[in-house]
């Protein structure tokens, strides 16, 4: 074998060399430098593998042997290009052979990312990084993936990556390369792709990622930012670097797709808005000039106008730059007004002033300013602070929505379990399928009114909805009552009634026993109180414990009123439904026992809303039993 590329071969020696390598390579061609440059179809697959022309020129220039993989008509080939000198003229020897399956399999294994089955970093480093070509190169970066990983767990994160990789793969051509470059970063290389097709495919990729469903986390929607650039004979690595830069702009907003051809317009239309509030026109001009390239700048020369603009633009505003000393309303007053508005939590304010005594700075922070910029302005500092603050707030907004999504999902799950249990109980009790729902609504209404009327029960939103949820289990003890008694048409004997009464203690015991692993859980504690004491009465004449007045926990007091009202207004095996007005009057008159007078006031106050909420006809007979 002739290893010395410098050696000058005769025509005969060259022919012998061609014959020798032809035993291994089915396709062999010896071409002069001129042929490489001029012959249109000098390459093995005509114009379809121009990279080999590039490689030939490279081999000629560097005297290196070049080896690469080609894909043609679905078959992969190993191509080698070696430079030689024949009769004093520079030549290249092209050798091509199909890659056999085993070779492919072995190579694939080494170069495949275990998690996602796309190419791995090693493949990028060894095969792609320094390859020169004409191609579209895209960087695909998942938004907030670390948060997803941290909140949903590693396993979910791995599933998500696999699903995302499949989604991206589906959006690009089968001949394109896809590499997982880092944890949540992918690079797609698309040789010889036309510009419009490139942009279109990148949007497909972004849409596909957004549509990705992570098994077990169906409520989470993933997004990726995509930055795409075109390389024309540059290395893939140069392309990736440019794509990363482009992406750093796109990252302002999740799910953004930018390519170098449309980057400028996209930034124009999606610039975040910044409001400058300063009484000095000079200062506004300077700040505007510093920020206008990257932001849409709004100006106000006084506090009143500033607040009007905040009201008008609302969520569209990304940041306010606020001067402290201004005639009329000063910056502190504007801050105070802003904090009363709902946008305040998501709208960062950076104070500007030369009043840089610590007191002034501290006061600004206390009033909710996010940051503080001193005069004289330094363009780079101003820009950096503005962009950092905007990014931070944008991130915080995304996190908040992610967390609330997950929180709501959890609540929905517990809700569902309770609904199932309540449904089972109702089936057994033969009660209206709506009883549990009604009790819950009534409990919520009464509690809402109660905390308004009295500060004796400082129950926050969370506690009130927990009590309402727990009310669904108030009759859980009836599960253990004999069916003959539970569903007996007509009046119970006093003996039967005594048994029936035990549903309170039975229910409480069940919750206590079955829930012992969850001691301290507020839902369980409320459920226990409600189950045991929802038949107690204010005057101590209820059961099972004969508790009196405020000895009865408030949760149980409220549910007892709700229970009585719904029982009266519903059809039961032993009675017809009583109209709303009459039922209220019966309760007020003590026909169903004594209740906390405060709760009776509440019942009166919310009675119209009860009719509305429960769709209870005010004075006609209500729902038949199921």
């Amino acid at each position: 074998m002739l290893n010395n590329h410098e050696a000058n071969l005769t025509d005969e020696e060259a022919a012998a060399e061609v014959a020798r390598v032809a035993k291994i390579y089915p396709v062999v061609r010896l071409m002069s430098a001129d042929q490489v440059k001029s012959e249109r179809n000098c390459l093995l697959a005509g114009d379809r593998c121009p990279c080999l022309r590039q490689s030939s020129l490279e081999a000629l220039a560097t005297s290196d042997e070049i080896s690469e993989r080609l894909l043609n008509d679905g078959v992969e080939y190993r191509a080698r290009v070696r430079s030689l000198t024949v009769e004093g003229e520079p030549h290249v020897l092209l050798m091509v052979r199909p890659i056999d399956e085993q070779e492919v399999a072995e190579e694939d294994l080494v170069y495949t990312d275990v998690l996602t089955s796309v190419r791995n970093r090693r493949y990028y480093e060894e095969k792609l990084r320094s390859a020169r070509m004409n191609a579209g190169v895209a960087m695909i970066d998942l938004d907030d993936f670390r948060v997803f990983n941290d909140t949903c767990g590693r396993h979910a994160g791995d599933l998500a990556l696999g699903a995302v990789a499949a989604a991206i793969r589906g959006g690009i051509r089968s001949t394109d390369e896809l590499v997982r470059l880092g944890c949540d970063k992918f690079v797609a290389v698309m040789p010889n792709i036309p510009s419009d097709d490139f942009a279109r495919r990148l949007r497909h990729v972004s849409d596909a990622v957004h549509a990705t469903i992570v098994p077990g986390h169906e409520h989470v929607s993933l997004t990726a930012c995509v930055g795409g650039v075109r390389i024309n004979g540059e290395t893939v690595d140069e392309g990736v670097n440019r794509a990363v830069q482009l992406l750093s702009h796109a990252k302002a907003k999740p799910g953004t797709v930018v390519t170098d051809s449309d980057a400028i317009e996209i930034f124009q239309s999606e610039k975040p808005s910044v409001l400058i509030v300063d009484d000095s026109e000079m200062n506004r001009i300077i700040l505007n000039e510093m920020l206008k390239d990257e932001y849409r700048v709004l100006e106000a020369d006084n506090g009143r106008t500033a607040l009007d603009l905040v009201d008008r633009y609302g969520d569209e505003l990304s940041l306010v730059l606020l001067d402290i000393i201004m005639p009329g309303m000063n910056g502190f007053e504007v801050l105070g007004e802003l904090s009363r508005r709902t946008v305040a939590d998501s709208l960062p304010v950076i104070m500007i002033s030369s009043e840089d005594s610590d007191d002034v700075v501290l006061r600004a922070y206390e009033l909710g300013a996010s940051d503080y910029i001193n005069r004289p302005f330094n363009a780079r500092v101003v820009r950096r602070r503005v962009s950092n603050t905007i990014r931070l707030y944008a991130k915080q907004r995304r996190l908040t929505s992610l967390l609330s999504q997950q929180y709501n999902e959890r609540v929905k799950n517990s809700r569902m379990l309770i609904d199932i249990m309540a449904g089972v109980m109702e089936l057994r009790n033969g009660e209206s399928g709506l009883h549990v729902t009604h009790i819950e609504k009534l409990t919520e209404l009464l509690l809402g009114c109660l905390v308004h009327r009295s500060d004796k029960f400082p129950l926050d939103n969370e506690q009130r909805s927990t009590i309402a949820m727990a009310s669904a289990l108030h009759d859980i003890g009836k599960m253990s009552i004999d069916d003959a008694i539970l569903n007996k048409p007509g009046r119970l004997t006093s003996e039967e009634f005594e048994i029936m009464k035990t549903h309170t203690t039975l229910g409480a015991d069940m919750l206590f026993e079955l829930g012992h692993q969850h001691a301290g859980n507020s839902l369980l504690e409320y459920a226990y109180q409600i189950a045991r004491w929802h038949h107690e009465r204010w005057d101590g004449k209820g059961y099972p414990d004969g508790l009196k007045g405020d000895e009865i926990p408030i949760a149980a007091q409220v549910v007892s009123v709700a229970d009585v009202y719904d029982a009266l207004t519903s059809v039961r095996v032993y009675k017809d439904a009583i109209p709303h007005q009459e039922a209220i009057q019966m309760i007020l008159d003590g026909k169903c026992g004594e209740f906390n007078p405060l709760l009776l006031d509440c019942l009166l106050e919310v009675q119209d809303r009860i009719v509305e909420t429960l769709a209870r006809p005010a004075d006609v007979v209500a729902f038949p039993t199921i």
């Binding site: 000095s280 000079m282 300077i286 510093m290 000393i325 030369s354 004289p376 302005f377």
Partner: protein, 118 residues
Amino acid sequence: MGSMREAYEKIGADYNGASVRLMGEEMLARFALKFLDDESMDKLEAAMAAGDVEGAFMAVHTLKGVSQNLGFDNLYEPAVVVTEALRNANTVDGARDGIHALRQQYAATMSALREAAE
């Protein structure tokens, strides 16, 4: 742009510092020329004449901020003196001494800027 540098140097203002802070010499020249339209000195004089302490304080405070931003150190220093004389004051009298120096520097700055503008 040489003429703007000369204007700054003539009045003792900080040309190099300001041009670094404000995105280069070209931008600085644009900003500095805008100062010719700035009304805060006129507002200050009017408020002083009317004995309006709060108005005078606002005006000189703005003038102080603008001159600081533009690197007009010569103007910034007397503006600080007048600002402090008027802060929480009941009358404008305390600022009468300081305002002479401010007027002088203001006149020098304006004439240097006008020259640069030609």
